[in-house]
Subunit: 337 residues, 2 copies
DNA sequence: GTGAAAGCGCTAACAC
DNA sequence: GTGTTAGCGCTTTCAC
């Protein structure tokens, strides 16, 4: 149990054990054509020295590292963290290791195609496969398997998404059933399928109820609290303001609630608020918020399981796994008198 | 903008641009001895082809990758996620990239020294430096800089920890001030400094108040809800049960509250509960819980900044950064009559 | 059953 | 200012 002074290589192990590097490599990779005695000896030296193979070297030379990767745009983003949590859960008790990757360099993240460049850096060398969160380009390709979560468009890649439109319909119909006729919609990221589908769901529900779709009640957002606040201010300064607001996700819903309170409105007495995209913690952050729960954690779990299947050469049951949304009614809404 | 068929190498770029691989390498690494014209041409080819250098190859060959790593035991663990969030925040707008690494293979994680082996696989090749969360061995060494968070012991490595003892004293004294004399202590991971210091703080506060330290009121835990429940059951079936319980972290506190409720106790009427180690979300999960807030997120942020300094060859202000705990009083406690 | 040697994609001397 | 070349640590034929 000596501590590694400088980097320990396979060569050090080989010399200490008195064998060749190829023998050590065979032991490392559990090849069966090694004498039991030699195997034991090498294993002992590995343990003694505290050797572990360099992921970089292994990845470069061989096609298999037993590492799967998750590519996210920002590690401090709640969606990313929740997704990672689900992937971590799926990886548990498997032989796989997990790498989550993101870049701090914001300008490179806002330019289209950042995913592809980061992907190339990892996949096929360090990782055996990757999960890409909210890709904004469909131009993704990779030597190793790929699964996308909440993609840009319905592409050909294996994907995981939620029943966004159905959820948005449920949420809107809930408000309509309460008697609301003017419902403000705070949009999500319009470059993502999820953002588009939630808008469509909202519009679809209005259509079904024979209610007009009014442009002044639809604002573009981006899944942030700031967008929620901004849109809420716009809606609430309208000559004829909405009686309810549908936020495209819980982050935006928080912003909506903040803005409403800042304007002296009480929720739900003066304004009903619902939100999509609920992550477990948000249920507590906004305990009063009626939401459609999308279970991002479950999306990560599903994506990881799809990826593991692909890596192991199995075929997928569904090319696109749909995570079901479910309406969670709390006391943030009130029947309209 | 063609899509990469198979893996694109520096060689492909060189051939397409009609230059040598070393020229491409020079462009990639922004060396200044490249003709402006050549530089332009190569950059264009790189963009056209959508080339990005293999992290594995770069890491193996050069000492610098601009990637920092975080090593955690489990990606689905709340502590890890919260820590990652802080690191992500610190990395933002820097040129660094971030890799979070964990292994799903549980047996390898429970055996001592897992950190060292995982560390070796990444550091000095793929990453320029690493942050290790809750290492359970002090036998860590690495060619590249290392920062530990909530370590095993007070070692020589640059570290980030919280004012655990002070926090535990504050929390215990708060209960004592309310008149509580029998306070159950649900311990944390005793192999971590944080677990030991919280216990010491609890004992210290009792000492200062001239209260006896009773072994039947101290149970070992491990920062899980299950441990909290288990300990609570033990305490509450005592002939002379405690009137308050101090849980070593919020996860355990949740377990304590569950157990108490299952036994038909009301909180805080029948039992006062306090907890340490509050993560922001937990404040909402247990809105009724009086806690000491340790801001794990802030620990990650501090650790990342220390690591960046080390990588850039700057010296540290403090070898061990202390994140301050602060008492957050809510309604989970009641004065003892 | 084991060793020697080629080479993965890249960088850093060293030539020119 | 640019090309040639020797490895980084590892896996994998191919000999023996």
């Amino acid at each position: 149990m000596s501590r590694p002074k400088s980097t320990l290589t396979i060569r050090d192990v080989a010399e200490t054990a008195g064998v060749s590097v190829s023998t050590v490599s065979r032991v490392l990779n559990d090849k069966d054509d090694v004498a039991a005695e030699t195997y034991e000896k090498v294993q002992r030296v590995i343990a003694d020295l505290g050797y572990a193979s360099s992921l970089a070297a292994t990845g470069m030379r061989s096609r298999r590292t037993n590492v799967i990767g998750v590519l996210v745009i920002d590690m401090s983003d709640p969606f990313s963290l929740e997704l990672v949590k689900g992937v971590g859960r799926a990886i548990r008790n498997t032989e796989y290791e997990l790498i989550v990757y993101s870049s701090g360099h914001v300008t490179s993240n806002t330019e289209p195609g950042w995913e592809r460049r980061h992907l190339v850096r990892l996949n096929g060398s360090i990782t055996d496969g990757m999960i890409v969160a909210t890709p904004t380009t469909s131009d993704l390709a990779s030597v190793s398997p790929l699964v996308v979560v909440d993609p840009h468009v319905n592409g050909t890649l294996p994907a995981v998404s939620a029943t966004n439109q159905e959820g948005a319909i449920a949420l809107t119909e809930y408000l309509i059933a309460l008697g609301h006729r003017r419902i403000g919609f705070v949009g999500g990221r319009t470059e993502l399928l999820s953002g588009q589908q939630r808008l469509h769901g909202y519009q679809e529900a209005l259509c079904r109820a024979n209610l007009p779709i009014e442009m002044e009640l639809i604002q573009e957002g981006d899944y942030t609290p700031e967008a929620g606040s901004r849109c809420a201010y716009v809606f609430l300064s309208l000559p004829h303001p909405p009686t309810a607001i549908f936020a495209a996700n819980d982050q935006s819903a928080l912003g909506v609630m903040d803005a409403a309170k800042a304007l002296g409105l009480r929720i739900p007495e003066d304004l009903s608020v619902v939100g999509f995209d609920n992550i477990p913690q948000a249920a507590f952050v906004t305990p009063a918020l009626t939401t459609v729960d999308q279970s991002i954690d479950e999306m990560g779990y599903a994506a990881a399981n799809m990826l593991l299947k692909l890596i192991q050469g199995e075929s997928l049951d569904h090319q696109c796994h749909k995570v079901l949304t479910k309406l969670i009614v709390r006391d943030s809404c009130q029947p309209l008198k």
